[in-house]
Symmetry: C2
DNA sequence: TAGATTGTTAATCGATTAACAATC
DNA sequence: TAGATTGTTAATCGATTAACAATC
């Protein structure tokens, strides 16, 4: 039975399911039970079945789940078929690294453009994507209506650029600036990657007390 | 009253407290109540007081918390004073970007060395840190006993390098390889940064249903 | 002193786990 | 058919929130 509200905890697990199912497929595994998937992932079979039940019925009694089918379903839930368009704003080391290494297309994103202020970068191409002048940002967004912006600008630019992009209709922000960004506009989604927070939890765990 | 077991949820919030307290200090704010901090962070005052009570008593009735003092205390809980030594293994785009931009020292880590297989990188210096040949990894670790390794190697190298480092006594792994790594050894801590998982939750949230 | 705010205990809420009938 | 495994309901567990006495 589908749920109307899906908790954050469940949503955070969906990409993990997607990833594990991809690995299983790569290994040529065709079917899997919640029990077996759970023990691979270190979670209970109950949790997997409970999680999936938020979205529908994807298994078969006595059989389990078809790996490929379930992956496709979860991909669908995650919105991978939408081919969201995405732009990189700020092509410093990190923006550059993401453009070079991160497989946007594999998870359904279309990386269409990048922007920077540096004259030495503008006009160059990174992994097939043209770096444009930040001046062109407004015109580009009006023309192409990108769904998501990767924020890899300096901290000081984070909020002003966000405001500008929100005004231009960008609804999703993948924020690497280590600054909390916000917007009054409803319906704006922000996903922040806080490297320091992540490493600090590791610091905590390796510190004996 | 100090707690013996501290939940994962609490630990994940500690770096956020640390960050917010840093921002407050930068703004010259000297004292803050749990209520005021909570409304800035979008959480309840109760939660803050409950979280802190796992580690001790840091406030004063009728006054609240001294911003600087509390930050120092939380930094201490997170192990920032330990000056954990850290090495970067794999100096590709991402490893390079982290070395260049990420302020290890600010959160108490000492970035001491980097390793790569590429002859064009070996011997160069990135942000003051020498890139060494991967061949030297074992000898280096035996000599310097680094606490943490940043894994920014290709996926295929993730597990073998981890095994090697575990055998050499490295206890913490900051894993950017998009592969789950594991170890039989007790006391090994892994913190993985899964970019795709992060972006997929954003994909979910901007997909209308 | 009066007001503010803590630390902590108790109440509530939500998430995880267990159990099991349904059924492939 | 017998065995396996689902989807779902119920039970448990843990985390968050509320309340309040203590006290600065």
């Amino acid at each position: 039975m589908k749920k109307q509200h899906v908790s954050e905890a469940v949503i955070r697990r969906l990409p993990r399911y997607y990833r594990y199912l991809g690995d299983l497929q790569a290994k040529g595994i065709v079917r899997i039970s919640s029990n077996s998937l759970g023990s691979r992932m270190g979670i209970t079979a109950s949790q997997i079945r409970q999680d999936l039940s938020c979205f529908g019925e994807f298994g078969q009694q006595g059989y389990g789940y078809n790996v490929k089918e379930l992956q496709t379903e979860i991909g669908h839930i995650l919105g991978i078929e939408n081919r969201h368009s995405i732009i990189v704003v700020g092509v410093g080391n990190l923006g550059h690294a993401l453009m070079q290494n991160f497989h946007f297309a594999e998870i359904g994103f279309s990386l269409d453009a990048a922007f920077d202020v540096s004259p030495s970068l503008v006009g160059t191409t990174v992994n097939g994507v043209l770096v444009r002048d930040m001046e062109e940002l407004d015109a580009y967004c009006r023309d192409h209506l990108p769904d998501v912006a990767v924020l890899t600008v300096p901290q000081s630019a984070a909020q002003p650029i966000t405001n500008r992009l929100v005004a231009l209709g960008v609804r999703g922000f993948w924020n690497f600036t280590n600054k909390e960004i916000s917007s009054d506009s409803a319906d704006i989604q922000v996903e922040s990657v806080h490297f320091a927070d992540s490493l600090l939890t590791l610091s905590y765990r390796i510190s004996k007390r």
